[in-house]
């Protein structure tokens, strides 16, 4: 299929970057790929990368859906703080695990619903609509914990962060399950197509019979749910809720993971698996810097450098500048992409009037 070969070509920079980062880790730390079983749980640097990367990967799954509709969700970090605060406070107050999980996930769902209604019904630009919850959400989380760092003792809840299912750490299992469910929902049904069509052009999708408000709200609700799960994992891992710092700046890491994975911020095309690869690249770099004994202060600079390299490799401007053998089939989407930018469309509408 031509689709798979072009997809392979498109995903080459990310896969290459992941392999390069993993190889660099292996060179710096020869035991990087060794995995052992201890106390009924897998251990090893590679497992550690997956375990530590789980929250960002979860956020990236929801964020991919949102970005595919040409939106963005800045509130996921705050939603993590809210769900974590609820879980810790309720557990401390003596509630058992099922209601705690239900209410925490329900809060994430409500947050997503709020964002979705603002974007879909009130037609507020996603970046501002979610900015509201990003600013207010951390305040709400602090309201729940009353400004304290709430700690709890509950083996059940803690198992979500540090337990293992069949020797695989629970956060990794949860992430894989979320990925599987999401992929099934969007790729085994027409949902993914509709999400992409809303991202390409909301108005014409509506004319074509796509129920755009429902699609948009569903996407933001899903993103809120993913954030709530990520918040539970982080809270369960440290056995406490820190409303100030839980999920702080993780929305940026999640957006980074999605963009590094090759999903365009202009919407219309998304790769779920590639977003996970993006999250893995980020986490593998973090772990690698720690293992190598480099000062963690270099973390941000290396992250920015890799981000720029991967993005430049995808930049339409660069691929036009560099003489590269391209078949007409490949050249067409790039040209179409350049002319289909919003200003260009507006111009065409303007000249037609």
């Amino acid at each position: 299929m031509t689709l798979s070969s072009s997809a392979l070509r498109r995903n080459l920079p990310q896969c290459g970057a992941l392999i390069a980062v993993l190889l660099a880790n292996w060179l710096l730390f020869p035991d990087f790929f060794s995995i052992r079983v201890q106390d009924g749980r897998l251990f090893g640097s590679l497992i550690d990368v997956m375990n530590r990367g789980a929250p960002v990967a979860l956020l990236a799954i929801g964020m991919t859906m949102v970005i595919a509709t040409r939106g963005v969700d800045l509130s996921v970090g705050a939603v993590m703080a809210i769900s974590g605060a609820i879980a810790a406070t309720m557990t401390q107050a003596g509630w058992s695990l099922p209601p705690v999980l239900l209410v925490s996930l329900g809060a994430g769902l409500l947050c997503g619903l709020w964002n979705g209604v603002l974007v879909a019904v009130l037609r507020i630009q996603p970046i501002i609509a979610t900015l509201i919850l990003m600013v207010a959400g951390r305040g709400i989380a602090q309201l729940i914990t009353e400004g304290q760092i709430v700690t709890f003792v509950s083996p059940g809840l803690a198992a979500i962060g540090s337990g293992a299912v069949l020797t695989v750490p629970t956060p990794v299992v949860l992430t894989a399950a979320t990925l599987a469910v999401t992929a099934l929902l969007v790729r085994a049904t027409a949902l993914g197509l509709m999400i992409e069509s809303v991202g390409v052009n909301r108005l014409s999708s509506a004319y074509a019979g796509v129920n755009t408000p429902v699609i948009l709200i569903a996407v933001y609700v899903w993103c809120g749910l993913c954030a709530a799960v990520a918040g539970l994992i982080v809270t369960a891992d440290i056995r406490g809720a820190d409303a100030n710092n839980a999920g702080l700046w993780l929305e940026l890491d999640a957006i980074l993971a999605v963009v590094v994975g090759g999903t365009s911020l202009l919407g219309g095309r998304f790769g779920l698996l590639m977003s996970i690869v993006g999250a893995a690249i980020i986490q593998a770099m973090n772990t690698g810097i720690l293992l190598s004994g480099f000062k963690p202060e270099f973390n941000l600079i290396v992250k920015a450098a890799v981000l720029m390299v991967v993005l430049l490799a995808q930049s339409p401007a660069l691929s036009l500048l560099l003489p590269r053998p391209r078949s007409p089939a490949n050249a067409l989407p790039i040209a179409a992409k350049v002319t289909s930018n919003a200003p260009g469309k507006a111009h065409k509408e303007g000249s037609a009037q």
Binding site: I128, R138, L252, L265, L307, M308, S315, A317, P343, A346
Partner: protein
């Protein structure tokens, strides 16, 4: 005409009514001392927000301002305390570096056709990262010029003072209004934010304007960093975390559309002061916790955005269907 000024009028009315409500509850609130402190405490946010206004008017966004402020404080501390440079020289170096950094981001945004959101996000990582590499400690700055500059103030007879940072902020807003509303550069920014393609066809130098807008934002973030380092007397790599959000919030509350091309610099000034007012109120009250600040600002954001949507719906010929962003 009223259409253009109504968001500004609403912002200013909220500011005045809010101030009056505070004054009714706390009689000491309505004093020059409180107003002077309000201006001083929010000076660095205000200066950075003025730069952010230009970026947003041009249809972009700059997530790097908080990190650039932090970086500037660290750079100043290192240059003055460790390299022994005179603060005046250090100020010039810091402003030049910050401006160059902004210009570089603008160049990448324009020539590589990359979204400003992502480029300035990378810029934020780089600026924070370089500050971490320079130092992770908080370095106090003990140069005598710092205490001299902090003593520069216009004292009122009734008590209270207009400090140097406050004067700088007022000056920056004055110059920014001139630049935005009475120069060709300002007109170009509005044109670019309104519709990039038609601006290009009309002969607006898109490349030069884009680079200049981000350079200006960098310059003002650098100046905000200098003010912040005067204000705290130290350089710290984690300083001004999240200030980019405060500035974006101030711009939105000030009535500027995040889609670009529509808004006024003076509105941003109002937005900065409204945020400062909420914080001052909570300090005065004494029983409320600081998280109410965040919730109140979130609610205000929501109300202002709804208000703008409502205004657009009333005035738009297309019956309130805003263009797909």
């Amino acid at each position: 005409m009223i259409q253009r000024f109504l968001p500004l009028i609403v912002t200013m009315m909220v500011l005045v009514v809010g101030f009056l409500l505070c004054a009714v509850q706390f009689p000491n609130f309505a004093s020059l001392r409180v107003v002077g402190n309000l201006l001083t405490d929010n000076a660095f946010v205000g200066i950075a927000a003025a730069g952010m206004t230009f970026v947003i008017l041009s249809g972009g966004i700059d997530l790097s301002v908080g990190a650039v402020i932090g970086f500037t404080t660290v750079l100043l501390a290192v240059l003055i305390e460790q390299a022994g440079l005179h603060p005046a020289v250090a100020f010039a170096v810091a402003l030049a570096v910050a401006t160059g950094f902004g210009a570089a981001m603008g160049a990448v945004i324009h020539w590589f056709q990359m979204p400003p959101f992502i480029v300035t996000l990378a810029g934020m990582f780089i600026a924070r990262g370089v500050s971490f590499v320079l130092t992770t400690d908080s370095i106090p700055i003990n140069h005598p010029l710092y205490s001299d500059l902090n003593d520069v103030a216009w004292r009122f007879a009734a008590g209270g003072r207009l400090s140097l940072p406050a004067m700088l902020m007022l000056g920056v807003f004055g110059l920014s209004m001139l630049l935005a509303h009475w120069t060709r550069f300002g007109a170009n920014i509005y044109a670019l934010g309104g519709n990039r393609h038609s601006a290009e066809l009309m002969g607006v130098p898109v490349a030069r304007t884009t680079v200049a807008v981000y350079a200006l934002s960098g310059l003002l973030a650098g100046l905000a960093g200098i003010v912040f380092s005067l204000y705290t007397g130290a350089g710290y790599s984690l300083a001004a975390t999240g200030v980019e959000l405060d500035t974006i919030t101030a711009v939105v509350i000030g009535g500027t559309q995040l889609t670009g091309g529509y808004g006024l610099v003076l509105g941003t000034f109002g937005g900065v002061l409204i945020q400062g007012l909420i914080q001052t109120y909570i300090t005065f009250d004494g029983t409320m916790s600081s998280w109410w600040t965040k919730i109140a600002i979130g609610v205000l954001l929501f109300v202002f955005i709804l208000l703008q949507k409502g205004l657009l719906a009333v005035w738009s010929d297309r019956g309130g269907e805003p263009a797909e962003a």
